[in-house]
């Protein structure tokens, strides 16, 4: 299983049930996962494509979409931030 976290406006369009999923067949990297999500959830895919999306793997910033994903990973999708 992998754990997915959708923050901010991504949380509004991500359907419930995506929080914990079996690692989909053919998904080996962050890029694969983003592509798989966009195919499966077009609204989420559009929301991510329309803005700068940052990916966090196991609480560490991912700099490269070719980064591999393993069973048990937690992957968070972050839209632009607005603190302060």
């Amino acid at each position: 299983m992998i754990h997915l976290v959708f923050l901010g406006k991504f949380g509004d369009v991500a359907p419930a049930g995506l929080g914990e999923i079996a690692l989909p067949t053919g998904v080996h990297t962050l890029g694969d996962l983003q592509h798989w999500l966009a195919q499966r959830e077009p609204l989420l895919g559009q929301a991510m494509a329309a803005t700068r999306t940052r990916l966090i793997v196991n609480q560490c910033v991912a700099h490269d979409l070719s980064q591999p994903i393993a069973d048990g990973d937690e992957i968070a999708f972050l839209p632009p931030m607005s603190g302060g």
């Binding site: 923050l7 901010g8 406006k9 968070a76 839209p79 931030m81 603190g83 302060g84």
Partner: protein, 153 residues
């Protein structure tokens, strides 16, 4: 360094008093409190919701605070940031800095606020009679962040 992310209301004056208590090593204390407005422009705000990513948000805010303290030679910094549902008039964020002389404390607070606006993993959503909308950094927020970074070099 004291960094706290909280879903509870907080009293900025009490936080500042506790932060400053017994600190005779610093000659200056500067603080900033950001509060929830009842309107943004002409749009009424009933509630503000701030989402965070537990664990990661705290870690990133602490990293920004540590960089700021190092850069401006502050013996201590305080950050308290609300998350969850916030009502107009309530404090959203408190940043306070101690330094030997005032100039660095002023600069540290301003710089850290500039970074929090664009780099803290928090997401604001305003709701009111005209609906809800997610807030993203404004161009002036990015400009201030860029200026703060420029000063760092």
């Amino acid at each position: 360094m004291r960094v706290r992310v909280t879903a509870e209301t907080f009293d900025p004056q009490a936080e500042i008093a506790a932060f400053a208590a017994g600190r005779d090593d610093a000659g200056a204390l500067v603080s900033f409190v950001g509060t929830c407005r009842a309107k943004t422009g002409d749009v009424a705000v009933e509630t503000l919701r701030i989402d965070h990513y537990p664990g990661f948000s705290e870690k990133e805010i602490a990293r920004l605070a540590e960089e700021t303290a190092r850069r401006f030679d502050c013996p201590d910094l305080l950050v308290v940031h609300r998350v969850g549902v916030i009502h107009p008039g309530e404090a959203i964020v408190l940043v306070a800095a101690l330094s030997i002389h005032r100039a660095n404390a002023f600069k540290a607070v301003e710089s850290l606020m500039d970074y929090l606006k664009t780099d803290a993993p928090l997401w604001k959503k305003e709701s009111g009679p005209q609906g809800a909308r997610w807030i993203e950094p404004r161009p002036e927020d990015h400009a201030r962040r860029a200026k703060a970074e420029e000063g760092q070099r």
